[in-house]
Every structure is written in structure tokens, then in C-alpha cells.
């Protein structure tokens, strides 16, 4: 998985983005809501599973554990996590740039297939 990285899920992507500074579970949810303007609300089960996978993969680590207020377990990005995040951002940049570029060039003379061959079906 490490060399040839598959696309991250949105959850993993926003968790990593939120953990450049120490943050706890609820903070990640709030941060993701803010960044996506309310589009993506991470469920607690989804977040818990993703955090554990990321801990196993050592992309994030436990930053601090407040014993008194039990719910404040904070996590932070590791070097590997940061590298993975940067790779993903570059990959996404390439996608977006190519998309914008190709669309702006071709959209003038675009011929929309009539759909008989089914290659342009919107789903």
C-alpha cells in the first residue's frame, strides 16, 4: 500500500488535514464540517475505524491523553502521515488541473454523442 497509494477516502483525507495540529475526535468532526461547509459530517463509527487504521499504519499517533476529562484523546500527524497527505494533494492537484485544462480546451468544439452507443450516459 505504501509505494503505490490508492486514493484516500474523504474521511481519511480530512482526518489527516485536521491533524496537522493536535486534535481530538470531536475536533476532527467539527473541523471537517467547517472545511466542507457542512457537506461532510463524519460519523463517530466511521471516524473511530479510520483513526485506528491510521494509528496502525503510523500515519498519526497519540499526542496526549487527558486522564481527567476522559474524552480528550488527542492525535497528531506523523512524518509518514504528512508525506502521504502531500502525495495525495499532488495527485488530486493533477486530477483537477488536467480536468480544468482539458475542459477549457475542448468545450468549444465538443460534440456530445447522441447516447446511442451508451458511452455518455449520465448515472
Amino acid at each position: 500500500m505504501a509505494e503505490k497509494q490508492a486514493a484516500m477516502t474523504e474521511a481519511v483525507y480530512y482526518i489527516l488535514l485536521s491533524l496537522q495540529t493536535p486534535n481530538h475526535g470531536y475536533g476532527i468532526i467539527q473541523n471537517t464540517l467547517e472545511l466542507t461547509k457542512g457537506r461532510l459530517e463524519l460519523g463517530a463509527g466511521t471516524l473511530y475505524g479510520a483513526i485506528n487504521t491510521l494509528l496502525d499504519r503510523q500515519w498519526i499517533r497519540l499526542y496526549s491523553e487527558d486522564k481527567k476529562s476522559r474524552k480528550k484523546k488527542q492525535y497528531i500527524l506523523t512524518k509518514q502521515g504528512l508525506a502521504a497527505l502531500q502525495r495525495e494533494v499532488r495527485r488530486l492537484e493533477e486530477l483537477v488541473e488536467n480536468g480544468k485544462h482539458m475542459l477549457s480546451v475542448d468545450s468549444v468544439e465538443l460534440e456530445i454523442p447522441t447516447g446511442e452507443d451508451g458511452c455518455f450516459q449520465m448515472t
Binding site: A11, G25, G45, T46, G49, K72
Partner: protein, 196 residues
């Protein structure tokens, strides 16, 4: 108030709990199909039934379960009760939408956990079925085939037949759930692959 229901599909169970809550009954306890309800404001809570990924050594599981509950509670939800591997959570409806699993990937993993549990129970039931059928035949085969006696006239015949029917029913429900969950998982996998 108490109500007895057997749910094997957690979505249907959640829908029922939310329906009860919209009628002013909040679920507070569960034991072996028996649900406890107390009066509440109409539609005060949204319920979620969960089977979290708690694995590892047995003596660690209790701690992990507590950690998981604390984690979910830190997001504004409330722990209701647990039964076996199942956990029940609720969140006040005014605090917003409540969904524990928000992407297909985590839903797939949830359904895989649930499926594994049903599969193990189903296989165990299947073994019990075969064992008991064999036993039953050893005992009753002669009476039925050679002496042409009626099944229900045998000593304990009714109990035998009833017992067998129950284990066969359980086996088919469990393995049926495995099949249904497999279909669900396949549908979700199609969704994670995107449009094409």
C-alpha cells in the same frame, strides 16, 4: 413499558426504535428481545444500533468497549445500553443528524463484522441441527419406519419435533441474514467504485 421483538436487521430495528420514539417512547434497555421503554417527548431522540470493531485479547475488550463508548459520547451522542456485541446509542434530535457510519467503506466493514457473527452462529446452529437430527433418527427411526407408530405418540415426540423446528428455524434465519448482508455489501462495494 416492555415490548418483545426479534430483530435480525439492524436498520429495521433502528427504524422501529425511532418510530417508537416519535410516539413518545424512548428505549432504555434491551435483554434477549425484550425492549424497555420509558415515556419521552415525541421524537426526542434518534437511535443507532452499532457493532463496533472491538477485537483483540478478551481481557482488553471491556476496556476497548468503554473507550469506544466514550469516543461516541464525546461527539454528542448518548450511550443507552449494550447486549452481547451490540451497542445502542441515541442522540437528541435537536442536536442534529445522527449516523455512526457515514461512508460506504466503513458501512461495508460494519456489515462484514455483523455477517461474520451471523455466520459463526449459523454454522454452530447447523452443527446442532445435524447432531440433533441424527440423534432424533437413532431414537425414533425404528418406531416410525418399522413399527409404524405416530410421531406425536412417542415419548417426548412433541418436544423433539418442536426443538428440531426451532434449531432449523434459527439456522435458516442466521444463514439467511448472511446472504442478505452479502448482497448489501456487494451493493455498497459497487458504490465505492464510483460511477463506472
Amino acid at each position: 413499558m416492555r415490548k418483545f421483538r426479534l430483530y435480525f436487521d439492524k436498520e429495521k430495528e433502528e427504524a422501529w426504535l425511532n418510530e417508537m420514539c416519535s410516539q413518545g417512547w424512548a428505549m432504555t434497555g434491551f435483554f434477549l428481545g425484550m425492549y424497555t421503554f420509558v415515556p419521552c417527548e415525541f421524537g426526542k431522540y434518534t437511535y443507532q444500533v452499532d457493532m463496533p470493531p472491538i477485537s483483540g485479547k478478551l481481557y482488553m475488550r471491556d476496556k476497548k468497549k468503554r473507550e469506544y463508548i466514550e469516543f461516541v459520547e464525546s461527539t454528542g451522542a448518548e450511550y443507552v445500553c449494550s447486549w452481547g456485541l451490540w451497542l445502542f446509542f441515541r442522540k437528541e434530535a435537536v442536536k442534529g443528524e445522527f449516523k455512526l457510519y457515514t461512508d460506504s467503506e466503513s458501512q461495508i466493514r460494519l456489515y462484514q463484522r455483523v455477517r461474520l457473527m451471523f455466520l459463526l452462529i449459523g454454522l454452530y446452529d447447523l452443527w446442532v441441527c445435524m447432531f440433533n437430527t441424527l440423534n432424533f433418527w437413532n431414537y425414533a427411526g425404528d418406531y416410525l419406519l418399522v413399527r409404524h407408530e405416530k410421531l406425536l405418540d412417542l415419548d417426548g415426540g412433541l418436544i423433539l419435533v418442536f426443538g428440531l423446528a426451532v434449531v432449523y428455524l434459527m439456522t435458516s434465519v442466521m444463514l439467511g441474514m448472511v446472504a442478505r448482508l452479502t448482497i448489501k455489501i456487494r451493493r455498497l462495494k459497487g458504490r465505492t467504485r464510483g460511477f463506472f
